[in-house]
């Protein structure tokens, strides 16, 4: 998992303070970056430069408003999963990720025979038909690279199909991912 191993030690103490200060949100005031500067006891120029640098390094994806799905009417989500040709997976994963209605798109390992899907793409919609429609659009895009597997293993309880959509029926737990307030040597 090369993508998940960059340690927080890579952050300077100041950068760490910035994350701790802002990870729960920014105050909505005329000069929010001045607020960051004051809190961190740095200049506004430094605060802006630090923010831009975080964005450049991909540590901050963007400074944005996170909408409440349900309040905006987006009540339905589907985790679409696909069994696609490994050799083409990066190229096609990238294309699926670019679809405007896909919010998350990842390659993940298969676990045969029970789990044959390697591409995951989340879609959201206001009606069940809407997410079905999105699934069809992804399928159209992936049709050439979908894998057909012979289900020759009679003991296999889960039939092998080239794609599926898992809709969520209940949130069982939801907490935010947070950088903990502790010293860097802890782990």
């Amino acid at each position: 998992m090369s993508v998940s191993t960059s340690p927080s030690d890579a952050l300077t103490p100041l950068e760490r303070q910035y994350v701790l200060l802002t990870q729960n949100g920014l105050p909505i005031i005329a000069k929010p970056y001045h607020w960051i500067a004051e809190q961190l006891k740095i200049s506004i120029e430094e605060a802006l430069a630090l923010t831009k640098d975080f964005q450049k390094r991909g540590i901050i994806r963007r400074i944005a408003a996170v909408p409440n799905h349900y309040k905006l009417g987006y009540k339905f989500n589907g985790m679409t999963v696909w069994d696609i040709d490994d050799k083409q997976a990066s190229k096609f994963g990238d294309a699926v990720g670019k679809l405007p209605f896909v919010s998350h798109c990842y390659l993940r390992p298969r676990h045969l025979p029970g789990w044959n899907y390697n591409l995951f793409a989340m879609v959201h919609g206001k009606e069940p038909e809407e997410i079905q429609h999105y699934r069809s659009q992804i399928k159209e895009l992936l049709k050439e690279v979908l894998v057909t597997r012979e289900s020759d293993d009679a003991s296999q309880s889960i039939p092998s199909q080239s794609n599926d959509m898992l809709t969520s029926t209940q949130i069982l737990k939801k907490t935010g991912l947070r950088l903990k307030r502790k010293t860097e040597s802890a782990s």
């Binding site: 960059s6 909505i28 929010p32 802006l48 923010t51 996170v66 349900y70 994963g93 998350h104 939801k174």
Partner: protein, 158 residues
């Protein structure tokens, strides 16, 4: 689902909709970012700030601020699943949720009917948590860590 969040906000003004759409893409990094937003939406800085605070208060927006890439902040993550017999579902939910390393957990309509994110300080800890979940539940965990990320960004136009 959480009941309080299922009620729709009856009316969003044109300005509110414009704000929600624009600010999902991101706030400019400059001294007066809301002034810039106001110019784009044909409004004033004060009005933008007032409306944005109201949208947060009404919980139309759940959060406003930097979206950090959790993986860049250190630690390890994975998405994992269990195929839980229906009669045991409640008990297994409690067993899995009892681990503080479980960040999200969703019930989904599939043979693998429980999907959760494990967030830990290290890769070794991920393996330990999975082992403990298997011991506790007597079920085998499907572990699907991300191998490659193509896109993360939710845009819900209103």
């Amino acid at each position: 689902m959480d009941k309080s969040s299922t009620t729709l906000v009856p009316e969003l003004s044109k300005l509110d909709k414009g704000l929600i759409n624009l600010l999902q893409h991101g706030l400019p990094v400059c001294e007066r970012p809301f002034l810039q937003i106001a110019q784009e939406l044909d409004s004033t800085e004060d009005e933008i700030i007032e409306h944005l605070n109201q949208l947060l208060e009404d919980k139309v927006l759940s959060r406003f601020g930097p979206m950090f890439d959790a993986a860049c902040l250190g630690g390890a993550f994975t998405l994992a699943a269990l195929s839980v017999p229906e009669k045991d579902f409640e008990q297994v939910t409690q067993q899995v949720n009892s681990f503080e390393q479980i960040a999200h957990n969703y019930r989904r309509d599939h043979a693998f009917n429980m999907w959760f994110v494990i967030a830990t300080e290290s890769q070794e800890e991920i393996d330990q948590v999975i082992e403990k979940i298997e011991e506790k539940t007597n079920l085998s965990v499907l572990n699907t860590p991300k191998l490659e990320e193509f896109y993360v960004g939710l845009y819900l136009p209103v």
